[in-house]
Symmetry: C2
Subunit: 234 residues, 2 copies
């Protein structure tokens, strides 16, 4: 596999995808065309608008970028794709569309066969075993929470440390993940904004310069440093 699985598309003070520029030049170096999966529709924008945004964000690469929604047979398009990118937005909507368009398995097969893949936010969430650790609102009811399972664990993108000064009584991210582990066994990687997982050469390396926070069932959460391999986490 050959993937960049990123916490976010955008970091504070920077343009869309800009912080990933060098990593994306390397990921996509051998391809001339990238198929963009716009199903997560951030803020409810249309598939066309979202594809346009991806085109602009990837313009520095000088590659063709096509929206998956434009293909008559999206499963076939994934199978013959040179490279892929799934953007963020709402994970419930993304997963519903992947099921409804019958492309979950073709997408998994394409990634497993080595097609370069970029996921950001919701597009990263779906690389885990389930979408059970998304932060998103359940705006639609998907046929299942099961996702690609490219990774042997789950992801929590946009991972946010508890704010010790907060007076808000809603659950912290850490509390939510603890609740997840009362009902589920797989580890969860809390991926902070600016981090990504580089899946390549049978390894999974934490990149981007930051620590990640690992949650395992019935254990205290712990930090791993930039450069750590997560390939044995399961």
């Amino acid at each position: 596999m050959n993937c960049i699985i990123a916490s976010t598309s955008t970091v504070h003070g920077s343009n869309y995808l800009a912080y990933l520029k060098e990593a994306l030049e390397e990921l996509y170096k051998d391809v001339s065309e990238i198929i963009f999966i716009p199903y997560a529709r951030p803020g409810g924008i249309s598939h066309d608008e979202y594809t346009q945004k991806a085109k602009e964000g990837l313009a520095f690469l000088n590659k063709e970028v096509k929206g998956l929604h434009k293909f008559e047979d999206p499963a076939e398009a994934l199978q013959s794709a040179q490279a892929l990118f799934t953007g963020g937005g709402n994970t419930f909507l993304l997963v519903s569309q992947l099921y409804n368009q019958k492309v979950l398995t073709p997408l998994k097969k394409a990634i497993e066969s080595g097609t370069p893949y970029l996921g950001t936010s919701a597009g990263s969430n779906i690389c885990g075993l389930t979408m059970g650790t998304t932060n998103d609102m359940p705006i639609v009811y998907p046929p299942s929470f099961k996702t690609l399972g490219i990774l042997e664990f789950n992801l929590n993108p946009h991972y946010l440390d508890p704010d010790p000064t907060s007076t808000h009584k809603g659950e912290t991210r850490e509390t939510r993940i603890k609740e997840f582990h009362h009902m589920n066994a797989m580890p969860v990687v809390g991926l902070r904004e600016g981090s990504w997982l580089r899946v390549k050469n049978n390894d999974i390396i934490l990149e981007g310069g930051l620590n990640a926070r690992i949650f395992e069932k019935d254990e205290e959460p712990y930090e791993v440093e930039n450069g750590t391999s997560l390939k044995d986490l399961e």
Copy 2:
């Protein structure tokens, strides 16, 4: 109906349920026993532990408090209950349990027949048409997102205004609700911590001293003041 539908069980700097003391004395004045629904299991605590917490929080009332999980026939227990309280926690877990225990309809009937009902957080969320505007993590897959429909709209408990100083790129609550309205038509009431809806005498009044924020599809969100009736919101 005779309900208190509260954003949160606890406000900053105060004990569990303490800010609702007077409202609960009035709600439960004619009953000697309250059945507590512990299914949402905040932080993954057990049904027994959670019921104990509810007992302690309601001790000032001097009423019996029994956990619904202790009844052999929970549907029958709801039907014959004098009063009800559903605590907060994880809405996905709560809704799954309501379906699995086949008590969603009996609970709705009990509330509609006038049984005094307190909901906090997840226990309030289920009073809306769907759980589609919960803030919780999808830790289990419920059979449906459809909930009690005691209200003709949806609720967003623990409503949180966007933080203009935040550098975090995850979606704000307002963005999430906007995404919800791309897929759903019903209004959403953003209920701030410290607010509750008093459902009584065929009216629904915002109480607790704060404004609430109302989101309607294809309209700008707007504020309503404490004391406003929401009975015509649909």
